[in-house]
Symmetry: C2
Subunit: 221 residues, 2 copies
């Protein structure tokens, strides 16, 4: 049986979960409290990070490498277009979310508010939370601008870029940090992606100590 060692609100894990679900690759989810650094976990991934995917007799790490591998082994439905220009744009946006959005928004909001509490690592720094709250506006505007020109973030087909973005935004939505009224394009895009069967498992997540808000799983939020 395939297994994904993960943390429910990790955007990198969610991106992999969405890819697996879209491609109908079944997987058992195993929560890994990576901050406890148990030796079995470090043996599985010397980098000490989740996600870790056990598949085809191997242990795979690094979400970008995992998603490319899934794309090559399970090409249908495709999450990358066929032309190099289209593939480039998807990969650029995946990096945009996993590098820039992650550093400017996710770490300032989610990691401050949730991870610190879960790990017993103190209280949120209000300076960081403020910086994150400011930066997310600019990112939502950028997404809105992209969606003015395209049906999905990287072009006219759903792609890994949408899953990368939705992975970050859904985790932030769980802690009510996304203002869905800011941009109508972004709201419509999220409504579309939220209603996909691949999203179900993510909408069912429950984090002890952080009750799921009512709008989170509501398709008509």
């Amino acid at each position: 049986m395939n297994r994904l060692f993960h943390v429910p609100l990790s955007p990198f894990c969610r991106k992999v979960r969405l890819s697996l679900a879209e491609k109908k690759v079944e997987v058992e989810l195993v929560e890994e409290r990576y901050w406890e650094r148990n030796p079995e976990f470090l043996r599985r991934n010397p980098a000490g990070k989740v996600p870790i995917l056990k598949i085809d007799g191997q242990l795979l790490t690094e979400s970008a490498a995992i998603c490319e591998y899934l794309e090559e082994k399970h090409p249908e439905p495709a999450l990358l277009p066929r032309d190099p220009e289209g593939r480039y744009e998807v990969r650029r946006l995946v990096s945009w979310f996993d590098d820039k959005f992650h550093n400017e928004v996710t770490s300032n909001l989610l990691y401050e508010r949730v991870n610190k509490k879960v790990m017993g690592a103190g209280y949120p720094e209000s300076k960081n939370v403020k910086a994150g709250a400011k930066a997310i506006k600019y990112h939502l505007d950028y997404m809105g601008w992209l969606l003015d020109q395209r049906r999905w973030l990287a072009g006219n087909e759903l792609s890994l870029a949408d899953f990368a973005a939705a992975a970050h935004l859904s985790s932030l939505d769980y802690i009510r940090d996304v203002d869905w009224n800011r941009n109508a394009n972004v709201r419509d895009w999220y409504a579309k992606i939220k209603s996909r069967p691949a999203f179900r498992s993510i909408l069912a997540d429950q984090i002890p100590g952080f009750p799921q808000p009512a709008h989170y799983a509501d398709l008509d939020f």
Copy 2:
């Protein structure tokens, strides 16, 4: 003419330079002092980062997406193997260096010692420099362990993983932060990669205020 907007010691830029040179794609290098945030630069890349590659009438950003694009448009010589397992391992290691090594080592050493000075952003934090100096040992050991089993980092052929690693290590070597006596495998690997024609431009870099150390460009270091 193709152009690469870059910063000489940036590991992300160096990885792209190495890929371009290995594939014999000619490019004019243009230095971009990104911290001055000039409007023309931000128009080229709203993410405000280098590298930016002008090629085929487009402006490409995000080094991982750029390298995949180059691989697809200029497949020879190949920097990714053909089988999904081999490709996975290359991509995993590229992410290892550009995420983990970058955060644990490069930002603690290079950014503290060089970037802060160049940008006029104060003095190195000795706590960070110490953490970087400690972490690099563990990374060199990990590389040595990989090279015990393989000729190159990701397998028996040279790949993007070697260029990602060499991009970080060469920048750190410029500021004398690599102990080449720590691991003989790593030293032999670096000697091999350093002697490739693709490495020449990198060995010719000169950073004002940081004279190039004698061993840096020496193939017999």
